[in-house]
C-alpha cells in the first residue's frame, strides 16, 4: 500500500467534484421556482396564474341580477334555456361598468339565421326556416320577440321590450 502517498491528486480531484456539486446545488436552489414540484413535475404557481386570467363572459346569473324583467319574460318562453351572452356576446365589461359600456343590440337578421337557417345537417327536432322564404328579408324582430320567440306567447312583453313594434 505505497500508493496512498501519491494520492493527493485524487483528493484534489474529489474536492473539485464536491465543489462542482455545491455550485450545482446553489444554482439549482436559485433557478428552480419555489412552487416547482408542489403538485407534480411542474411549476405549481402556473395554475394560479392561469386561473387569474380576466373573465369576458359574465355569465347568466350576473346578467339576471339586474335584468330581472327580461329574465322573467325569457323564463316562460321557448328560449328559456339560451344564455344571455349566447346572443348578446361577451359582456363582463358591461357588468363591471354598466354606465360606460353599453352593449350593441344584435342584428336579428344575422343572429337568428345563424341558428335557425334550415339545413339537413341540423337535428330534425330543432326549429328551422328558410329566412328568405319565411320573412321575405324582413328582420325577425318584426314579428318575434327574441326573448320569447313563439308569436302570441307574450305579446305585451313583445311590444314593451324591443320586439314587435
Amino acid at each position: 500500500m505505497s500508493g496512498l502517498k501519491d494520492a493527493g491528486h485524487l483528493f484534489r480531484f474529489a474536492g473539485l467534484f464536491v465543489l462542482a456539486f455545491l455550485v450545482f446545488l446553489v444554482v439549482r436552489a436559485y433557478v428552480v421556482p419555489k412552487s416547482f414540484g408542489e403538485y407534480g413535475h411542474y411549476r405549481g404557481a402556473a395554475i394560479g396564474e392561469i386561473a387569474a386570467h380576466p373573465v369576458k363572459f359574465a355569465g347568466r346569473q350576473t346578467c339576471e341580477t339586474c335584468h330581472t324583467d327580461i329574465a322573467d319574460i325569457k323564463a316562460k318562453g321557448a328560449h328559456a334555456h339560451v344564455n344571455c351572452e349566447a346572443c348578446h356576446g361577451a359582456l363582463a365589461a358591461h357588468a363591471d361598468d354598466p354606465m360606460s359600456v353599453t352593449p350593441v343590440k344584435p342584428d336579428s337578421a344575422v343572429l337568428c339565421a345563424r341558428c335557425h337557417t334550415a339545413s339537413a345537417a341540423k337535428p330534425a327536432s330543432f326549429p328551422q326556416v328558410d329566412p328568405a322564404e319565411h320573412s321575405g328579408g324582413a328582420p325577425c324582430v318584426t314579428c318575434h320577440n327574441p326573448h320569447s320567440p313563439i308569436i302570441g306567447s307574450d305579446f305585451t312583453a313583445n311590444a314593451a321590450k324591443g320586439g314587435a313594434k
Binding site: S35, I47, I50, A86, A90
Partner: protein
C-alpha cells in the same frame, strides 16, 4: 447576434430580475376554490348540436385565440350510406361562421361534432413534455405553463386529437384550458355559456349533485379514440361510429 462583455454585464442582471418574476408567480385569484374537490370533464351531446359556431367564437373572444387557430372547433360530418368507414369532414374556419346549408334529401347522414381538448387523465401530451411545462392539475385539467414552454412542439405532435398548436406570437404551445380562469370562480366555460342548445355541458365528476352522473347512468357515451387509452374526459353522446 453579437454580445460583447459590456452588453453581457448589462443583460445578466436584467435576466436575473426577469427570472425572479417567473419564480414569484402571481397570487391565486380564487382563494375559496379547492382543487381536490373537483374533477372536470365535458359532456358533448351530438343530437343537440346545430353547428352555429357560437362556441368557437366565444372561445376565441374569451381566450384571445388568434385567427386561424382553434381551442375548440366544430366539424360537419357527411357519412355516406355507401362508404360507412370514410366520412367526409368539413370545418370551414373551424365552423366559426357556421356551415354551408345541406339540402333536404341529400344522400347519407349529416351531423356536427364539436371538438376540443379532451383533458385526458393519462394524457400523451403531458408525457412527452421535456421541461414539465404541460401537466394535469389536481382537478383534472390539462394546462400549459407558458413561462416554461420552449415551443418544441412535441406535445402538438403527441396529441391524438389535434387539439394543440404553437401560438403564432407567443411561440409556445397553446390549447383549451377548459376556461380554468372561469371554472375556478364558479362560472361555466365560455363555450358552454354561449351554446344555445346545451350541446356542451361542463361536468364536475367529483360533485355528486352534478347532472352528469344521472346522464351517464341513462346514456351510453363514448370518448374519441378509446383504443389509445388516454382517459379522455370529453364524453360524446350519440356519436356516429364513423367519427375518428
Amino acid at each position: 447576434m453579437n454580445i460583447n462583455r459590456r452588453h453581457l454585464m448589462i443583460l445578466l442582471p436584467a435576466a436575473a430580475v426577469a427570472w425572479k418574476h417567473v419564480l414569484a408567480g402571481t397570487p391565486e385569484d380564487s382563494p375559496n376554490y379547492q382543487m381536490s374537490e373537483h374533477w372536470w370533464g365535458m359532456l358533448i351531446d351530438i343530437p343537440k348540436c346545430i353547428g352555429c359556431g357560437n362556441c368557437v367564437r366565444a372561445c376565441q373572444t374569451e381566450n384571445d385565440v388568434p385567427d386561424g387557430f382553434f381551442r375548440t372547433w366544430v366539424e360537419q360530418y357527411h357519412r355516406s350510406d355507401y362508404h360507412l368507414e370514410t366520412p367526409e369532414v368539413i370545418s370551414p374556419d373551424g365552423g366559426k361562421e357556421g356551415f354551408p346549408v345541406v339540402k333536404e334529401g341529400e344522400e347519407g347522414k349529416f351531423f356536427f361534432v364539436p371538438k376540443m381538448c379532451n383533458h385526458c387523465t393519462d394524457s400523451p401530451c403531458t408525457q412527452v413534455c421535456p421541461v414539465g411545462a404541460t401537466f394535469i392539475t389536481p382537478d383534472g385539467v390539462v394546462l400549459i405553463d407558458p413561462k416554461y414552454c420552449l415551443g418544441c412542439g412535441y406535445c402538438v405532435q403527441a396529441c391524438p386529437y389535434g387539439c394543440r398548436y404553437i401560438h403564432p406570437e407567443k411561440k409556445v404551445a397553446d390549447k383549451c384550458t377548459l376556461c380554468y380562469h372561469r371554472i375556478t370562480k364558479g362560472l361555466t366555460t365560455a363555450c358552454c355559456e354561449a351554446c344555445p342548445t346545451g350541446a356542451r355541458q361542463l361536468a364536475d365528476l367529483k360533485n355528486p349533485n352534478d347532472p352528469i352522473h344521472e346522464f351517464l347512468k341513462t346514456h351510453t357515451v363514448q370518448v374519441l379514440k378509446p383504443q389509445m387509452a388516454t382517459g379522455a374526459k370529453a364524453f360524446y353522446n350519440g356519436l356516429d361510429g364513423s367519427v375518428r
